[in-house]
Amino acid sequence: MFKLLNTFSRLNICSNAAPARSIATDSSLWIQASSVLYGEPLKKKKKIDPAIVRAREDRKKKKIERAIKKLKRQANRPKPVDEIEVPYELIDQKELRERPAAQWSEEELLEKHILLKKWTLYKQQRRLEDLQLIDRMVYSQQRALDELKLASPRLYEAAIQIDPELLPYSTEGPVYTPPVKDYDSPDGEYLDVSKKWE
């Protein structure tokens, strides 16, 4: 601090000899705040032995070739399907995982058999109804088209065109309970656990 004051005071003395000089940062004194640029001569490129360069390139090439070979070898190998292969753990624990044997009384067995027989009849009836329904609708449409052909060939021509917007078709539901109105679903974390096969 004192040192600085000293310099300033000496400046003051000097200023007596050359008056009207003070410290300022404006342009008149050419004190500049911009960065200073330095230059440096360019580096000379190192000379490498051409044999080493060639060897390097060869190594690169070989690496790629090896990768291609590996891919080619695996091209026809299907990726494993985890769902099909039974884990060894399960095979080992087979007895541990066994449930107690089912107990069916004579009556229950009889009831079961009768019910399943009735069920097949029931399903056959439903299937027949479905077929009749489809045929009825096809009949209705064919009848409409036949009538349209007689009424106006132009409209018939337009009606039998394929509608490209029908496919792909997607639909939702029905579900057991309707959606809750204004349901605020809690945010969960999304983890992609699917394996990558290369």
Binding site: R97, L116, Q132, L133, V138, L155, A159, P174, P178
Partner: protein
Amino acid sequence: MFKVSCVQRGIPLKFVNLVACSISKSYSSLAQHSSKDPENRISEKWDVMSAVCIERNPIVSRELNEMETKVASLLERLELENSKKCNFELKYQKEKAEFDKLKKTSTQVEDEEATIPSQDFIDKNTAELNNLQAAPRTTEADKNKDVKSLDRCLDSRLLLVIKKKLGNKSLWHLPQDVNREDETLRQTAERIVKETFGDGLNVKLRGNAPAGYYQYKYKQAPEETDQPVGAKVFFYKAKYLNGGFEPKNFEDFQWATREELKTLLIPPYYKDVSLFLIDEESRNIDS
């Protein structure tokens, strides 16, 4: 015609005969329409019309009937018997055994502190399930018998019918209009939706071809020969997507179930309309 179409679709012949018999029985009267002599047709002038059949699909599944409930519970039992114990069951078993052993050996363990971790997990999830409030399957509209609401009869298909003057009588029918010179029947159907219900209602037409046909004669006999004597109505099916509408261009409307259609529509009209409608699955069938 039926036999050929079925065989092409690969349905066993045994069924086809049954199907064909039943159809030719019940719809033979309708088939007579198309066997009118052609000369008469040409001399008469008919209006060609489009009509739109807007349908809302069921939102909730129907209740199982008695037979289906029985079979469902049987299958559930069989499935459990044929299954093996899962990881969680094994874990639970192990922890339970350990817990019991601990209880036996050391009497100092306080009962309140020691619990089975898997049991806690089960309790927690059961509590969460019990807390869940699912939306009811029957709605306010069902209770109030509000036939204009889309919120009614969630488990069945609803058909949009309107009441409007046709000739001098006002009748329940599907919205219809005369086909103009420069448009196809499908374009007419799209125009009907726009004009009758406005831009708010979004529907999807199912294809370019009409699904059904109905014809009727106008009450007033035409004074001149070039006046149309009746209308040929071609029905287009449409699926309700979303949106609503203001009841403006007609007297009344209703989202009608299949049962209600029977009473709303006049019998010949109902007969032709029901031909191309999917039946509701029968709920109560004697086994």
